[in-house]
Amino acid sequence: MEIEMGSRREFLRTASAGALAALTSKTLLGAAAGQATISVPGKEGLIVRSYRFLDLETPVEYMTDWITPIPHFFVRNHMFEPAEIDAKEWTLGIGGEVDKPLSLTLADLAKIPVYSVTNTLECAGNGRSQQSPRVPGIQWGKGAVGNARFSGPSLKSLLEKAGVKDTAKHVVFRGSDVVPGKVPPFIRSIPIEKAMDVDTLVATHMNGAALTPHHGYPARVITPGWAGAASCKWLTQITVQDKPADGNFMLPGYRMPNQPVKPGEAVKPEDTHSVTGLAVKSLIAGPIDGAKLKPGSQVVRGVAWAGEADITRVEVSTDGGASWNLAQLGKDQAKYAWRLWSYPWKPARSGDYTILSRATDSQGRVQPDAAVWNPSGYFYDACDQVKVYVQA
């Protein structure tokens, strides 16, 4: 991909080109009448939650591959993407509570042993639009989630190169995304224990190719099993500290109440905690909601993931939750990666059906019937549901 979207500097030129490309592609591809399409090179058929800055969602019907292809992988940007990054000029600084502050080039990174982690990356706000009452934020449907193979040096190896002091408790990441107005920069930290886990990466590659600009070129953090906000894109600075990062995206941002709260109820900061590992969840990729199915054999299929835990079971109900049946898990598996699942189904009659999916993980967590409402709409985890009609 050559074109970078969403940077302030590039905004006007790109926007004009985008408008023309949308017009042309719509004409050439014959998009369905009334279905608006927008051209975002390298991203195909995704739901546009925001064009500037760019936030794209994967439709659930695309979730039939264990590895999500880059054109179908969701994008979550808080700011504008950096306009241009010169790979030769790029450096990654490592400082703070370390013995020897470092400035590493891409060539330096390439000399460090490469690890690969297949990680299901999910935005903390995925499913937010299903909360009631609604809360502010990108109104994600179900698809701010994808599974990719990320590769690069382990963060641990970089921190060890710099020499972490005994005072090191948290690791702060800063990316080069462009901050508009007086908006606070997107800066977050993770605890040193997670930073020193060998699976936490400074990834330079995704699905075997160099990161694309939308996914954080030339390097990003991958904090596997955790909400996407812990995986800073366009990484330029790593700072080791004795305390967590300050700022909006640590507090009040990306926090969950310790106890369930009612809509409108004030929550004290000390009664909240920063988001970390993902919930246990499943999604139905097919049949899609509202589908009219021909009579005969069907396959209900989808994906299920559990952050740092493993999926042990997925159950499917085709009668609105009255009875449940075990789905078969796909053979592809890796720590932190989602599992494909499928359930063969032969509807006994024509008519309306409500299909549900429910995942269980190795920590004994089970997807609930209803998600717990929270003020920021994080970790929506209710059993997934689609309604279909089987024709006579």
Partner: protein, 117 residues
């Protein structure tokens, strides 16, 4: 709000005006007496689609408005209440869900910009 210089701002507004409509990648704020002011205050940092997809109570819109003013949205104090009314009546909890567009389903053809753009 981004600190755009004068000529750039004018160009931005003209471009935005030229691009609205069916084939624009940008959503539009609804017609109303405060459409222009809301567009100017909000869309130099983010497009209107982030606003039009929200379904919030007046209390929630008030909180958002004050957060955005703190984050640099240039809103005349005499317009604050009107803008909160404009957003909460346009994008309240009872409005139908916003139908988002999709990105083109196949790799876009290369477009050469000739003349007007």
């Amino acid at each position: 709000m981004c600190r755009l210089n004068g000529s750039l701002l004018i160009f931005a507004l003209l471009s935005a005006q030229a691009m609205v409509g069916e084939n624009s990648p940008f959503a539009e704020l609804p017609v109303g007496p405060l459409q222009e002011k809301a567009t100017a205050a909000c869309t130099s940092c983010h497009e209107a689609r982030i606003i039009v997809q929200q379904r919030l109570s007046k209390a929630a819109w008030t909180k958002e408005m004050d957060k955005m003013i703190k984050w640099g949205a240039e809103v005349d104090s005499k317009d604050r209440d009107g803008l909160i009314h404009y957003f909460s009546t346009s994008f309240g909890p009872d409005q139908a869900t916003y139908e988002a567009p999709r990105t083109a389903a196949h790799a876009s053809p290369k477009v050469r910009l000739k003349g007007k753009h």
